[in-house]
């Protein structure tokens, strides 16, 4: 007996070790809840690796910040100028979209729709990955002590990233949408076809359950449908790259994620999603005209006295409506400006187009923001500069 055991010792050890691991796998498969028996092993493993990852990421970030924020400032002015221009364009776009959104909300309110919206997010940094092609997931530097829980959605400005799979004390594991075991409820932006997004071995994602008799154009945007109760509805996921006939009755729709999943650095964890019934926005919406008016060339700020003195200013003379009130008629004898500078007539920045008198150019609706505004600043018949009074009027 001893000879047999000695002869096959290695094989017995191999079978024993394999058996224990298979048994462990069977237990894990049986227990599908998160409070599984393997949690302790995971905590130990993550605890051994993540401090080093955090230290390296911190060092890298600090060095990068020092270089980019203090040493390497080349091109910052040009970038700043470009960004300002971009902000202006986006503000105009925002006004247009807010009007569309208002309209949509009114319609949803009529239909008693309930909408989901992201009410709270937390920024987190990617500190590591699983390092496995079979498990596409990343580790974040935020965990349970920061309020992170399993099944929270993780996004970037570009689109959906994934969901929190395990939350540990100071780190969390995020399953990417490109993982083969993930699933996201999705809807196509224009055709409104619904399906389930799953990861493919290539790292792309595929939209499943789209019937083969449907038309899916390449390039169409894929959004979250909200049906999985994890991702709020309407977040961008990716764009359709290829459509081919698949097996059974379904199409093979390949989607390229809009978020760059292979180079994630900072992400947002959606920590709170509220659901409320849609109500039309009661607040006064900002109009494109208002935005343009705010962008007019800088005008000296309105003195306090001037606002209470209706007798001064070219705005009154030209009959421009100020703050929604009709201007007073032109006084017979214009009073001297309080500051003594006749040109520096206070003009309100919000110039709206209510009933301009004949000959007055609406600075907003003409599309030319600069010249009309100057026209508005310039009185029709400019008063002659007068010496400032010794005692300014109260």
């Amino acid at each position: 007996m001893e000879t047999v055991l000695g002869r096959y010792k290695n094989l017995i050890v191999l079978v024993g070790v394999l058996f224990v691991q298979v048994l462990g796998l069977a237990v894990q498969v049986k227990r599908t809840t998160d409070t599984d028996s393997s949690r302790l092993i995971r905590i130990w493993a993550v605890g051994a690796i993540s401090p080093l990852e955090k230290a390296l990421v911190w060092t890298q970030t600090s060095t990068g910040n020092l270089w980019h924020n203090y040493l390497y400032m080349r091109g910052v002015r040009a970038e700043n100028r470009d960004l300002k221009l971009q902000i202006e364009q986006m503000r105009i776009e925002q006004v247009r979209m807010s009007q569309d959104a208002d309209q949509a909300r009114r319609l949803q309110a009529l239909l008693a729709f309930k909408e989901q919206f992201i009410s709270q997010t937390m920024a987190a940094q990617v500190i590591g990955s699983t390092g496995s092609e079979q498990s596409r997931a990343v580790y974040l530097d935020k965990g349970e002590k920061d309020g992170i829980k399993a099944d929270m959605a993780v996004i970037t400005a570009d689109g959906v990233v994934g969901k929190v799979l395990h939350a540990y004390r100071s780190t969390s594991l995020v399953l990417l949408i490109s993982d083969q075991t993930s699933g996201v409820g999705a809807i196509l932006e224009k055709s409104r076809l619904q399906g389930i997004l799953r990861g493919l071995p290539s790292g792309e994602i595929g939209l499943e359950r789209v019937m083969s008799d449907e038309q899916v154009p390449a390039g169409e945007l894929v959004l979250t449908s909200g049906g999985d109760r994890i991702f709020p509805k309407g977040l961008p996921i990716g764009r359709v790259t290829r459509v081919s006939p698949g097996s059974d009755l379904f199409l093979n729709v390949q989607v390229k994620p809009t978020a760059n999943l292979s180079k994630l650095e900072e992400v947002l964890i959606v920590t709170k999603v509220d659901e409320r019934q849609a109500t039309p926005d009661q607040t006064v919406s900002l109009r494109a005209a208002d935005v343009l008016a705010e962008r007019l060339p800088t005008v000296p700020p309105k003195p306090a006295e001037a606002s209470s003195t209706p007798a001064t200013g070219a705005a009154l003379q030209t009959g421009t409506v100020v703050e929604g009130k009709q201007a007073q008629p032109k006084p017979k004898a214009p009073a001297p400006p309080p500051s003594g500078a006749a040109v520096a007539v206070p003009v309100p920045r919000k110039v709206v187009k209510q009933a301009p008198p004949s000959g007055t150019v609406d600075p907003v609706t003409t599309g030319s923001a600069k010249e009309p505004s100057q026209e508005a600043v310039k009185p029709a018949d400019e008063p002659k500069p007068q010496p400032p009074p010794q005692d300014p009027p109260q």
Binding site: V29, Y139, T181
Partner: protein, 172 residues
């Protein structure tokens, strides 16, 4: 007496010191987790597998190979989002196989190392996919083209890594 767990029964058996035995697998798992965040293509490599093969071939002890593979694999499993044991079982098999071949073949040659690593990578992936599909019901897709490409890449990296690790091993 040096603190090692190498058997020392065979001729040309090597051992690694305790610090190397602990730190090298830890470093391999750490790099495997950290580098792909910066260099995404790095995920085609499997550094823990290469360390398992290297340790198993150098020690030429099947029991040591089994436990080395099992521990490294379980540690790697614990970092993934999947069930613990998939990498553990795969690397146990590879550890046993590599140490068994290490007894019979000359594994000091770079060509032999390249070929063995290539074969063991494929074995590792076959075992992994078989367990994932058969026991855990994971729907993982198999691509021969991808797996062979990864096997070649790992084999090339393996030859370089083994040369590096040779400096740390000590003759018993």
């Amino acid at each position: 007496m040096a603190l090692t767990y190498t058997s020392g029964e065979q001729v040309e058996v090597y051992r690694f010191g305790i610090p190397a035995t602990v730190l090298i697998p830890l470093m391999a798992v750490f790099l495997q987790a950290w580098v792909p965040v910066r260099l995404p293509f790095f995920s085609i490599f499997d550094l823990p597998l290469l360390v398992t093969i290297s340790f198993a071939m150098a020690r030429r002890s099947q029991v040591a190979g089994i436990f080395t593979g099992a521990l490294i694999g379980l540690f790697q499993d614990a970092l993934t989002g999947q069930h613990i044991g998939l990498y553990g079982i795969s690397k146990t098999v590879v550890g046993f196989g590599a140490s068994s071949l290490g007894i019979k073949l000359d594994v000091e040659n770079a060509g032999a190392r390249l070929l063995l690593t290539l074969v063991f990578y494929v074995v590792h992936e076959v075992v992994y996919f078989t367990i994932a599909r058969g026991l855990v019901s994971l729907h993982l897709a198999w691509s021969w083209q991808h797996e062979l490409g990864s096997a070649v890449a790992n084999a090339v990296l393996g030859v370089l890594l083994y040369a590096l690790l040779d400096r740390l091993k000590q003759r018993t």
